[in-house]
């Protein structure tokens, strides 16, 4: 890291043990980026669409990881922020004719407001109560979207225009794949920067021991709210790009099942560990695709696999620091 500041190895899990020199790490990073660029050219359109979806989940899971993994707040309604982003873009481009690039900051703005509204009164609660409140919040957002005229009711919104960027019309699956690559890389970058910061450490202090953190002068409600809002921003950005990628959104995209799937990606790979969460997101999306040959049995096999992983690696697939 530049500036000779301490890196926090736990955010990277066991990766720093293997990649002990910055030269090796840079090389590994280069390989990953090269693979990301080359993958769709080798794999074809179908696989590209699936990978795009996996990258979306990387963004969403890294956002939820800040809430659950760093700050230790169990959030069962994360899809709500995903929905806020998607619907803000849908409505403001369709109804008000805004360009996507103006709708995007608006989506972030509304996510911050939604995060604050739900967070401020509830973050004083203990974690298990918080889970129930967030579950309710997720359902409120979905049911509102289902019943409001502005959100298009049960059939949702369609015909959301694909955005232009400096004369480039982002329209083909390949275009969106690269857009989501950039988003995923940005999401990782921001997560790493935050993990190595004063705020990132404060999340861990509060997660490990609220009283001791408070005795150290940390305002626990404020720190938790910050985690909640940052997570909400991740969710809404994911949702905004999801909306323009598909061109159509409906309330069922933002169900409780969606929240659970994102949470599963976080827990499966290893809460609080960035490579683990990325791995988790890929497993959650790719495994059901790879198991397609098994037909109706595939969800059963997937579920069994998840159970086994949790039985044998309860703290996630990615090794903890110093133990891998």
């Amino acid at each position: 890291m530049a500036g000779g500041l301490p890196t926090r190895p736990s955010a990277w899990g066991g990766l720093t043990d293997v990649l002990d020199t910055s030269a090796k790490r840079r090389f590994a990073l280069f390989l990953i980026l090269a693979a990301m660029v080359a993958a769709p050219l080798v794999l074809g359109t179908y696989a590209t669409v699936i990978l795009t979806n996996a990258l979306l989940y990387v963004v969403l899971a890294l956002g939820l990881n800040i809430v659950v993994g760093y700050a230790g707040l169990l959030d069962l309604g994360f899809a709500a922020f995903f929905a806020v982003g998607a619907y803000t873009v849908g409505i403001s481009t369709l109804e008000f004719g805004l360009s996507f690039w103006l709708a995007l900051p608006l989506a972030i703005f509304f996510a911050v407001i939604a995060g604050t509204i739900i967070g401020a009164p509830t973050l004083r609660l203990r974690s298990d109560y918080l889970a129930i409140v967030t579950l309710g919040f997720g359902e409120i957002v979905r049911i509102s979207a289902r019943n409001l005229r502005a959100t298009g009711g049960a059939s949702g919104l369609s015909g959301i225009e694909q955005p232009w960027l400096f004369g480039w019309h982002i329209s083909t699956p390949l275009d969106f794949y690269y857009v989501f690559c950039v988003l995923a890389v940005l999401a990782v970058f921001v997560s790493v920067r935050l993990a190595n910061s004063r705020l990132g450490r404060a999340w861990l202090y509060v997660r490990h021991d609220e009283d001791a953190a408070e005795a150290m002068g940390i305002d626990r409600v404020r720190v938790k709210l910050a985690a909640y809002v940052v997570g909400a921003i991740y969710g809404s950005i994911g949702g905004a790009f999801f909306a323009v990628n598909l061109g159509a959104i409906s309330p069922e995209s933002f169900s409780f099942r969606q929240s659970v799937l994102i949470l599963m990606a976080v827990i499966l790979g290893g809460m609080g560990k960035i490579p683990g969460v990325i791995l988790g997101a890929f497993i959650v999306i790719l495994a059901p695709e790879l198991l397609r040959d098994f037909g109706d049995l595939r969800l059963l096999i997937f579920a069994l696999g998840l159970l086994l992983i949790m039985l044998f690696r309860p703290s996630g697939i990615w090794p903890a620091r110093g133990k891998g």
Partner: protein, 262 residues
Amino acid sequence: MTPLLDLSHVSLSFAGNRVLDRVDFSVPAGAVVSLIGPNGAGKTSLFNCITGFYKPQGGAVRFDGRETLRLKPNQITQAGIARTFQNVRLFREMSVLENVMSGMHCRTSAGAIAAILGLPSQRREEAEIREFSEGCLDFVGIAEGWKREATTLPYGWQRRVEIARALATKPKLLLLDEPAAGLTSGEKEGLIGLIARIRDERGISVLLIEHDTGLVMRISERVSVVDHGVMIAEGSAKDIQTNPKVIEAYLGVDDGEDALAV
């Protein structure tokens, strides 16, 4: 001169049980003051009232010229009172240095955006947090093993890390809750030296709860004795040792159990 910390008529009860009964108590600036008393006398409760973890039903707490009774614990730390816990409470899965760095949180201000952009001010602040924390570790005599997970250190070291963490909040008053508990006699000697240095070199007043009366008598300018939630004596170490009320409380003339507990 007005004392640094001044409690007057502080009363605390839990579900009708009176834990503290109109306690008057003060700590002058630049002093080491000890709070002693039998188990369950209300010493830690008094600590918790000072640090904002408990809200007394009555009385007033003034620190450094301001009323602190209604402040939250983190605001009280920011005002300049730091504490350690009776059972060491270091942050698990975090290094020794990261633990101490938590103290600097309330003395710094960089937020999410500064961290994401890696602004120069944020980098400077990070370096400052790290330097000051390292200085605190050096001060308590931990010169190595900063990257080790704090909770894997030997117990005596963990106690010192906790003191370093409290010092990193840049306090004016340091509250130590039984800092000698579980220490070897050699470590206790080190602790006595450390407390004296905290007062003399850093100019921090120290208030400690301690059962080891030998240690208390050696380092305290003043000793206060609390029993059954009532302040029964206050004075120099010598006065306290010969005070009949204190002897009664400790030997338990009317209550045999307390004597065993000392």
